[in-house]
Amino acid sequence: MGVFGLAVTAILGWLVLPRRLQANPIEGLCLGFALAVFGISAEMFLFDLVGLGWNGWVILAPWVAGAAWLTGKRRPFLDLKLDAWQLAPALAGLAVLGAWWPYERGMPLTSQTWDAWAIWLFKANAFYLDQGIDAYLARSAEFLGQPGYPLLTPLYATFLYQLEGGVSDQLGKLTSPCFFVALLGSVHYLARRIAGVVAAALFTASVALTPLLSQVAFELAGYADTALSVYMLLAGGFLYVWLREDSVVDLGAASIAATAAAWTKNEGQLFLAAVVAIIAIRLVRRHGHISRWAWLAGPPLALLGPWSLVRMGQSVEASGFTLGADFQAALFGTALSTMLAKAFTLGSLNLAFVAVVAASVAGILLKLQRSFWVVPGLVAWQFLGALLAYSTGRNEIEWWLATSADRLLSQTAPLAILAAAIAYGLWIERLPVEVVPAPAPKSKKRRRR
């Protein structure tokens, strides 16, 4: 039943997507999976707050009702429009999934992936056995995990356990490969909207062929980094599209995805702060309508506000750091050189960070519009945030960098590749359009003759 839960998450998420997004069915299942994982985990948190309990079918009920209502109003976008270019991401994706798939049988048993079970799945385990979050939070001082970390990953795993009727490491860990597939579909959707079908195929294949991304999704299954990379990508991509096209659907999608990022991992909270600031500046400048302010503030306040209150009520500290506090310049230098070396290690991150640098150079040379800079800016912001975290010296720096720097870079690598897709899209928009004269209609008289 747990695998059914993963499938139904993607299907229901797709069916409740706004039809105006015009995601094709494969993209829709990928975007829908990301949306519904976030929605279900948020729903479980709120159900727990009001004492509704966690019956798996009851949790699904609002999604089924929403999907039925929306599908009755207007059927989902079913036009797949596959062409030869789509072979590139399909083959790349299949090659990567094929190379990693045997790992799936070892997943529930590997005790090497410390954070997966000691932090994320431990909470899922505890939430499921306690049927709530309070009992674990009350005892959190006993455990080595990070009780202040946000709850998307553990609560969604708990949902799968509810459907399965028991704790299942493998199910919890399978969420990471599913997010990897969702990442590919999300990149394809955004790149298609931004730069067209051909670019979407090529940039999606590039993401699939970035070794660190599949490594984190499979070898470190159960970690939250793959999920975070999906939400950061979606937030950055929809934010860019909103700045260009000014559609409230894109604004809502950016706000929800950024909130999901903050609900997934602490790095996402830094990311959310940047996204909120960018949207707020735009709304102030354009005298944005109150509904747009509501879309900006609603998702983070409705979810992260109560979570902060629950956490503080149980005296659980928010894990993280204060920007600029305990800054040590020497550590900053060490972190910078290590992060740069890792970012440009081709065997790991391939050309992802080369792509964002190249896109930025193109942005300067081509004097691309300001909205372009949002995506490379978010990549740089997260990079700087990581450096400042390392500079606090909260852990022994060499160990800390060795165990986390790769994962931090993997979170923004898809966004870095998306920056290149945007630059490419803007570049081809500027190319002079070749006007092909239409053939002259044949004369009826001549045809008669």
């Binding site: 790349a92 790992y103 070892g106 048993l109 431990f122 385990n125 080595l144």
Partner: protein, 149 residues
Amino acid sequence: MTAVWAVIAAPALVLQWSRAGELERRIGNKSLAERVALFDSPASPLANTLARAIPPGGCVTLLAYAGPAAIEYYNARLDYLLYPRRVQVFADAAAAQDDCEFVGVFRDTAANLAAEPFAGSWDSDALEARAASLERVSSDSLVRIYRTR
């Protein structure tokens, strides 16, 4: 561009294909229990023995002859595998059991101890004297479990 990307990714993919083949050979048609024995030993069998003896609301103080990093590992791993039971692991045979109603005595595998030697405090005679005052609940090749009287 994608072709360049694929060429750069090829060595990592080839390596992963080879690792996947190796993993498949190790896993084969093994059952879940056999795979657990292969990948998660001795923590998983140790947890199973403890779980059979200690009720879900119970508490166990585990006196563990294991290296320092292993102690941290067993603390976290047994917290995970035995939740909601309370578990505290010490590399000290004289560690106080506080209000825990169960005491376990565990010795890590020879391979683990060779990789990371014991660095705690362990007086075997004193431990045996302490055990004699407790009620033995169960015992296997991994762990002896006692109930405090």
